[in-house]
Subunit: 354 residues, 2 copies
């Protein structure tokens, strides 16, 4: 009929009631007779009426949307993270606005600011975010949860992965299975997790292989950098007995460098990564690693944020740390014939597109 979509006034007029009553009916606020309810619902359905969210947000001050600010969307980590967030958000009737691919502090600031009035709260994962940044860019009262961040704020909860403990555990395992000389491939300089993993490596070496010289090569989380790091290690006069890479992709780069050089894994050199990405169990030999339940990270972050949305919530902001589990596979010799049959169930879920 009309070319514009129906508004609440149209429904009210058609149903011969006031807009207030229509609003009450549709929002389930009480105080309206079943008879009128019926009429209103019928008219609303007939006109395909759907309330305009902008108008609603304007008056209520709520959008029922939360924003996720991420540096990127590439790779399994962010994919899983978003999935965890999305699932939890959906369970609470919240929508998810994503903003990714920011590459510097200015980008991040723009991303955060652009969400003003669009979201009720934010999940932020960015190496550029610190206390001053938040102070500067976040609206006064907007709840936010920080992921994977070194900042300590009495205003914003922080949710981290216990990368340090995970690193300690896997390095200890390498040492306990007989390799004293464990080399480490770092992640990007500014990445908080990467820093923690290096600390873990150093701590574990100091404790369980005291006196053994450290071997540290720089990487940037990319497979390519892992490959290069491996070649550098192989070129040294004293080859390490094991390599612990700060993430799985670099470990995989290593693996192929070793294969190329005829170095047997785990026979000549044991190998371990971090993250337990999907590929880890499909390479040959399957990669020992540290599992972090990324989707859980997203879920928990969202749940924390959702709690903050309730104005009655007075839980103080805190730094929460998620544990991770060592997963031993073939690449560090933990399991013998670990090449065949990686039938570990990933998770039980309905079949998906990929």
């Amino acid at each position: 009929m009309t070319t514009k979509s129906a508004t609440i006034r149209d429904v009210a007029r058609e149903a011969k009631v006031s807009v207030a009553s229509v609003s009450r009916v549709l929002n389930g606020t009480g105080g309206v007779t079943p008879a009128t309810q019926k009429i209103v619902r019928e008219v609303a359905a007939r006109l395909h009426y759907v309330p305009d969210n902008a108008a609603r947000s304007l008056i209520t001050g709520r959008t029922n949307t939360i924003g996720a600010v991420l540096p990127d969307l590439y790779g399994e980590f962010f994919s899983e993270l978003i999935r965890g967030i999305d699932l939890a958000a959906r369970a609470r009737g919240l929508h998810l606005l994503v903003s990714s691919s920011h590459d510097g502090v200015e980008d991040a600031a723009a991303a955060v600011r652009a969400m003003r009035g669009r979201v009720d709260g934010m999940l932020i994962l960015s190496e550029y975010v610190d206390a001053a940044f938040l102070e500067e860019n976040l609206p006064e009262k907007l709840p936010a949860v920080l992921l994977d961040s070194p900042v300590k704020s009495e205003r914003y909860p922080v949710l981290n992965i216990d990368s340090r403990a995970g690193a300690v555990a896997i390095v200890r395992h390498l040492i306990e299975t007989g390799r004293q000389h464990v080399a480490f491939i770092t992640g990007p300089k500014n990445n908080f997790d990467a820093q923690q993993r290096e600390k873990g490596y150093r701590a574990a070496m100091a404790k369980h292989a005291p006196g053994v010289p450290l071997a540290i090569v720089a990487g940037d989380f990319s497979e390519e950098s892992g490959y290069r790091a491996a070649r550098e290690l192989l070129a040294r006069k004293e080859r390490p007995q094991a390599v612990f890479a700060a993430n799985d992709m670099m470990a995989i780069g290593c693996l192929y460098a070793f294969k190329e050089a005829g170095v047997d894994v785990p026979g000549d050199i044991a190998l371990a990564g971090f993250d337990d990405i999907l590929i880890a169990r499909y390479v040959t030999p399957p990669l020992s690693t540290v599992q972090v339940r990324i989707a859980d990270l997203g879920r928990i972050a969202l749940e924390r944020l959702a709690a903050m949305l309730d104005p009655a919530d007075k839980t103080p902001a805190s730094v929460q740390t998620l544990g991770c589990d060592v997963v031993i596979r073939g690449s560090c010799g933990g399991k013998p014939g670990a090449d065949a049959a990686p039938r570990e169930p990933r998770r039980s879920r309905r079949p998906s597109r990929t």
Copy 2:
């Protein structure tokens, strides 16, 4: 100072101008003296003023946000798709609202409806969406682009993957390298791509291996289903010489079933998948497959949608199909020592988290 964040009125008052002028300055609409511009900008910065998007949307009728409705976020396909969409959206200053994990037609309808007034346009990928669905649930004038869908509409553009041609090409390759008996593992019944891939398989067999009986086993895109399908094929009295799975995950399930059974790939049975997910090149032997540039799919869909956002746009809705490329790796014997050194660059990009 105040506990509420600053509004345009606060800025106007403080700068001793009208709200209209503030609006004009901040939106870059002309007609305001450089002197007043300067003042307004200073005051706005000082008050940390950021316009409220809800109010702005209400009056302009635009949100600068596009919605992506997907069945799920799990796996590399959706991850890449979102990434492509996000990148293109960001390039246009559009925000991205995602709504995933819907599991039935009612869910999908709710997802679509919930976006009313929140988005300027939608990207929809759902097996539950057909012409009637759109008619019913989409606001009159809301632009939308359909992905991977069989519907033909003169209102909504559709963007598909040429799964059929891809399947034909890879099956032909299998036959041309000497395996007449090619078996096929299907995808989910209602998945449009899966259907197209089956059609491609049938067509290629009919054309290049006429008279050879078809061997078709049901799968659902999960690794597990590929594994089961492989076992079923192995149990048959006449084993196929090659297996083409409707996606990579199922092919990988096959691969491990074959390894378990001591069947050599590609010596005894050649193997091929579809999608070219990341893992494909990391398994041993690396998996031959059909590459679809998923991120491109997302990008192109968004660009098409962005074009529709311009009210002057009169491009008629059409069905566009994206080609895909056969990628030959070790699993079908195409390359000899393809086990080692999978140093094919995936894409060149900055190092990422995973």
